[in-house]
């Protein structure tokens, strides 16, 4: 009987699967533990303790998962690409867990919900989804883990049940998200039809010759719509400003950081592995159809839309949202540098961007709790109200703007030089890099606008002199700012690790 032989032959891989996927399993178990603890033991306690205990369990889970991952073998592939382990993926997963840790820590002082257990459980399950997303080369798994992540994030967006904007943002996020999921599914179905398989390598093997099958182009476009939504690239960005503004601050921070890192990694993997052979060319005078020109157009559009729309924003959260769209444009340029260590530069950029934007949202959360709003005017005189917070915000904002020696500058420099490296497939994309640099100069205006409010504008009356931020918040934000500073001054540490993980072996 064929079935028995098949099952028998794969018998060993169950144990292997359990070992390799243990970090994800630990995260899922931690989520269950948080839920159970909240249900059985913590109900009667004060919210502050519930948050602290749930967060502690979650953090233990994250740390345990990181620890397990360090002990794993460097390479693994179970069930024909359904779950793969490679050094780069492991690094990204560790990065995701670190981002989750910080998200949990900046949620510690939040007061938007009384459901502490459910909140942290959903954060953890979203993280598990992102980790699965990073460690697969199969479109079925990509779709499922994308949905796991998305569903958790919709919930996290809607978590503040008293707030109209939270519910509204979640509904918009959900409607745009599930529509783009439908596009993705349709695109994947065409890919399956063309290749007869769901494995990215098999799909790439079915692409032959320079002339692309029109259905392949259709599949490509539809897949890009789905993933473009996930990373908030224009013109699929319409949800982002509302979600960043309406969602509870820690949720928005998580969506802007973790989900973006995972999204870009999987976008790069799908494009470089699944559509290998369908690159085309986006060079100024050498256009060829393929995914490179498609993403180049999206990159240009995102940078233009993001940077110019950010200029007129008065809400800091919306400003950060449009700046995130612009950054998605920069990172798409990194996806185009797919050969060599291009992917390493993209990951350096997205990880440091994740840390930075997490910090920025953390500061916004504190300010919003103290002043009740996130308008630019609410930040007026922050440097006198709480100098520590102001300095942290300055570091985050300057890093987002790409000022040396912060991580944002190093990331941009590294990524653009990778694209323009001789022999890189993105070599013809000089026009895009020039556009990116020009628009970065434009972006300085709105970033400095925020800093002007913080450091120059007078504090609005003595009535708003509030006590400084809670100590835990200050420590966490300080740690984030320090990380951004150190990663900028000594980028070699992370870059070498990423480039080393890229090396074949």
């Amino acid at each position: 009987m064929g079935y028995e032989r098949e099952a028998g032959g794969r018998g060993m891989s169950y144990l292997e699967l359990l070992n390799l996927a243990a970090p994800e399993a630990i995260i899922a178990l931690a989520a269950l533990a948080v839920l159970a603890a909240d249900m059985f033991a913590l109900r009667e306690l004060e919210l502050h303790f519930r948050l602290a205990i749930s967060a502690m369990i979650s953090c233990v889970g994250c740390v345990a998962a990181i620890g397990w991952m360090l002990a794993l073998p460097e390479h693994g592939n179970v069930m024909g690409g359904i779950f793969i382990v490679d050094p780069l993926g492991q690094l990204v997963k560790i990065g995701l867990l670190v981002l989750t840790l910080f998200t949990i820590l900046i949620s510690l002082e939040s007061n938007f919900t009384v459901h502490a257990g459910e909140y942290f459980a959903l954060v953890l399950l979203a993280t598990a989804g992102m980790m699965f997303l990073v460690s697969t080369a199969d479109v079925l798994m990509i779709f499922i883990s994308l949905e796991l992540t998305s569903l958790s994030l919709y919930m996290l967006t809607a978590f503040d049940k008293r707030d109209v904007q939270s519910a509204e943002a979640a509904l918009k996020y959900f409607l745009f998200g599930s529509m783009s999921a439908a596009f993705t599914l349709f695109g994947l179905s065409l890919l399956y039809g063309l290749s007869g398989s769901t494995s990215l390598e098999q799909i790439a093997a079915s692409i032959r010759g320079p002339r692309l099958d029109p259905l392949l182009v259709l599949a490509l476009v539809m897949t890009v719509i789905g993933l473009g939504f996930k990373v908030a690239a224009a013109p699929f960005h319409l949800w982002a400003p509302d979600v960043y503004q309406g969602a509870p601050a820690p949720s928005a921070a998580f969506i802007a950081s973790g989900s973006k890192v995972a999204g870009f990694f999987v976008l790069a993997r799908v494009m470089a592995t699944g559509f290998k052979g369908a690159e085309g060319s986006g060079a100024w005078h050498g256009y060829l159809p393929g995914w490179v020109p498609l993403l180049a157009v999206l990159a240009g559009l995102s940078m233009v839309v993001g940077n110019f729309a950010a200029l007129v924003q008065t809400s800091v959260r919306r400003l950060l949202a449009y700046s995130a769209i612009a950054h998605a444009g920069y990172m798409l340029i990194g996806v185009l540098a797919y050969g060599g260590s291009g992917l390493a530069s993209l990951l350096y950029y997205s990880l440091t961007y994740g840390l930075t934007t997490l910090g920025a949202f953390g500061v916004v959360a504190v300010v919003q709790q103290q002043t009740g709003g996130d308008r630019l005017s609410d930040f007026a005189g922050l440097s006198r109200r709480s100098p520590g917070l102001a300095i942290c915000m300055m570091i985050f904002i300057l890093s987002l703007a790409g000022i040396p020696p912060l991580a944002g500058f190093v990331g941009k420099f590294y990524m653009f030089s990778e694209v323009l490296r001789p022999g890189s497939p993105g070599m013809g994309l000089l026009w895009l890099v020039v556009l990116a640099i020009a628009l970065s100069a434009v972006s300085l205006y709105y970033y400095l606008q925020v800093l002007k409010q913080i450091f120059v504008a007078p504090s609005p009356g003595a009535g708003t002199w509030v006590s400084v931020a809670p100590v835990t918040q200050q420590v966490v934000l300080g740690a984030l700012a320090l990380a951004v500073l150190l990663l900028g001054c000594f980028p070699g540490w992370l870059v070498q690790r990423l480039a080393g993980a890229m090396a074949p072996g």
Partner: protein, 169 residues
């Protein structure tokens, strides 16, 4: 009698598209209940197409899960909220036209690429009793996705309870 599947194909195809059309654009009613009921019919005729494609198990799942569970959920929520029919007011013409143009463009591109592409599609050999290998695959090759789906359902459950429950203060 070899013609019967062909005739059924056209019948189900017509039903699917006609009911699908009535879901989104019903000239007689804009009541969400009507949309939902026509969605049930669309799902049913799709299940018929699944049977013609020899995916018997999926046809059953389609009826049980979609027409049974999901649609009941839809109807339940519509009734719970007691939604009125969509008002016939001045719709934003620009948005409507823009939407229809983009849909038309997407459809044109889809049909064009369909007609241009060449599939070597000979009718596959008849497949019978495909449920057993399906079950085996689900617990061997596709064990991990299966487990992830269970986590996903947990997320949906936790989230839905949390969102739809009234907070007792």
């Amino acid at each position: 009698m070899a013609q019967l599947p062909d005739i059924l194909f056209y019948v189900f195809a017509f039903l699917t598209l006609a009911c699908g059309f009535l879901v989104v654009l019903n000239p007689f009613s804009t009541n969400p209940v009507t949309s939902a009921m026509f969605l049930v019919l669309t799902i049913g005729s799709l299940a018929g197409l699944f049977v013609l494609l020899h995916a018997f198990f999926l046809a059953a799942v389609q009826i049980l899960v979609y027409a049974g569970a999901v649609m009941v959920l839809f109807l339940f929520v519509i009734m719970l909220l007691d939604l009125p029919a969509e008002e016939r007011r001045k719709v934003k013409k620009a948005g409507l036209v823009l939407g229809l143009i983009s849909v038309g463009a997407i459809l044109t591109i889809m049909l064009q690429s369909l007609l241009q592409s060449s599939f070597s599609s000979e009718a596959a050999p008849t497949l019978e009793g495909s449920t057993i290998p399906l079950g085996r695959l689900l617990f061997t090759q596709y064990l991990l996705p299966f487990e992830i789906i269970s986590v996903l359902l947990l997320v949906a459950m936790v989230g839905v309870i949390l969102l739809s429950k009234k907070d007792l203060k």
